[in-house]
């Protein structure tokens, strides 16, 4: 197995406010997020010579953002993609540096996901018209991500006896985490009853099973381990990366193999193989929570529990702060805000640095109380290894393992 384990690192992270009405362009937000990440790394604009972004026709490309920051690029690339792009682009940035194309890459995602282009939105807030094979779905009314995922979830409940109440614990855990996050859109803790009592969107998804559409920009900076050691923060190294791995016949994945199997089935050997570790070695996870169910399905597919036992795993307390392996400690897409995966990697970088931006007065210096009561601490004690599980539509996924 080829591996670049520990030879690249994430040295800077930054984000704008999470809001539902930014009143700004994606260009202005991207510039702010990239600038913050550069400052976080202790670098200057002259140190960044690569830039990547991902989008779905809803954002501003790198070659408009870089000039606003006074950055001249040796490499840039804007790709089409949503969830699961973050981890994949970190791998591609490592590849660009490894190939000698550039030395330090800023990766950003900027979107007015609430005020401009909504998932499954209509009218002026509708996304671009769907093209290609997806057109075959139109007569059947398959229009939104929630619909596309729902059939996978229904089958999981049928095959394994998974219940809405079990899966609601994902929202409960992430709301607990968000209550310790000053940036989070939704800071109020919710109960299982709140989730299963909220209105139906698309069976088996209630309103509170779905993430929060958000306006924001996020950025992280990738460079070599040698340069990482000269940067201001404690280095966070990439142990393994996989992306965007997909199931057979991505377009009609249900026609091939069980739909309860997700892309992690194929990605796990790649990412754990590079890292030389297993699930039991991971201290913190960031399992993509476009929906409560996506978090659960990925955790079981990557081996954090046996296949089919995800419902029991996510409702056992394990994924909550104070539990054995907390998931999405910033609140994730369900509570902090929807960023197409970037915020979950940013959070894990901060966890490994020990400088999570919670309500602890000494947080920036790594001084935490580890009191997980509302409005207090969300730092995981001595977190050494963190893993991100990114997901895009049912058949595609990415994964990333980081260590301090």
């Amino acid at each position: 197995m080829k591996t670049l384990r520990d030879r690249y690192g994430i040295v800077g992270v930054g984000e704008t406010e999470y809001s539902r009405g930014s009143n700004r362009t994606t260009r202005a937000m991207a510039v702010e997020a990239v600038r913050k990440a550069i400052l976080d790394a202790g670098l200057t604009a002259a140190d960044v010579d690569g830039m990547m972004s991902y989008q779905n026709g809803d954002s501003t490309p790198a070659n408009w953002v870089a000039p606003d920051l006074g950055i001249r690029l040796n490499f840039y690339m804007d790709v089409v993609g949503g969830g699961s792009s973050t981890e994949a682009l970190i791998g591609l940035a490592m590849g660009a540096i490894e190939a000698g194309m550039c030395s330090t890459v800023a990766i950003f995602r900027s979107m007015n996901g609430y005020s401009e282009f909504r998932i499954g939105g209509t009218g002026v807030r509708a996304a671009q018209p769907v093209r290609g094979l997806d057109l075959a779905q139109v007569p059947f009314g398959m229009r939104s991500a929630g619909q596309n995922f729902a059939l996978t979830f229904m089958r999981h409940m049928y095959e394994y006896g998974t219940t809405s109440e079990q899966v609601a614990h994902v929202k409960v855990a992430h709301s607990k985490h968000a209550s310790q996050n000053p940036k989070a859109l939704l800071k109020e803790r919710v109960t299982v009853e709140d989730v299963v009592g909220s209105r139906w969107i698309v069976k088996p998804l209630h309103l509170l099973d779905c993430c929060l559409e958000t306006d924001n920009a996020t950025c992280l900076i990738v460079t070599s381990a040698e340069r990482a050691r000269d940067c201001r923060p404690r280095p966070v190294y990439v142990m393994g990366v996989a992306g965007r791995v997909n199931k057979p016949r991505t377009d009609f994945h249900w026609a091939h193999g069980p739909i309860t199997r997700v892309a992690g089935h194929y990605a796990r050997d790649i990412v754990f193989g590079q890292a030389g570790i297993g699930p039991e070695d991971v201290d913190v996870t960031g399992s993509y929570d476009a929906f409560t169910f996506t978090t659960m399905l990925q955790l079981e597919e990557y081996g954090f529990c046996p296949k089919g036992e995800g419902g029991a795993y996510v409702s056992s307390g394990t994924i909550e702060l104070g539990g054995k392996r907390p998931n999405n400690t910033a609140g994730g897409h369900l509570c902090e805000g929807y960023t197409h995966g970037m915020s979950m990697v940013i959070e894990n970088v901060r966890q490994l640095r020990g400088t999570v931006d919670d309500y602890c007065p000494g947080a920036a210096d790594g001084v935490h109380t580890y009191d997980y009561g509302p409005g207090r601490c969300r730092q995981v004690r001595d977190a050494e290894i963190a893993m991100n599980l990114g997901w895009a539509m049912p058949p595609t996924g990415s994964a990333l393992i980081l260590r301090r």
Binding site: Q147, A150, L151, V202, K203, F252, A255
Partner: protein, 131 residues
Amino acid sequence: MSVREERPIPAPPVNPETRPFWDAAAAGRLLLKRCAACTQPHHYPRVICPFCGSDRTEWTEATGRGTVYSYSVFRRAPIPYAIAYVTLAEGVTMMTNIVDCDVDAIRIGQPVRVVFKPTEGGPPVPMFTPA
């Protein structure tokens, strides 16, 4: 029995590769692609067999009988409707809707049969109803 309000169905896109499928649908017949080399049927219709790579794929008529593999009910629509994956007797699974029934009574594993529903200015689309 009250008159059931039906969701207007957008016309499916018809292209050179899928025209035989839609022409047959207009005649009330459900077609699948079958590989002449490895005999495996598949759906959505492709030019190359996804199992063995042969370019010898041909159209074959399906019985129109199957079972619900999974389904969901979209509630955020003016007229709620059920999207489903139905596994046909021939072994392939296709995206469809379950229609002409109480959407809350649909169950995974339930037997269904094909019906063709008119669309807005296009060929009828194959949907399924409890058998």
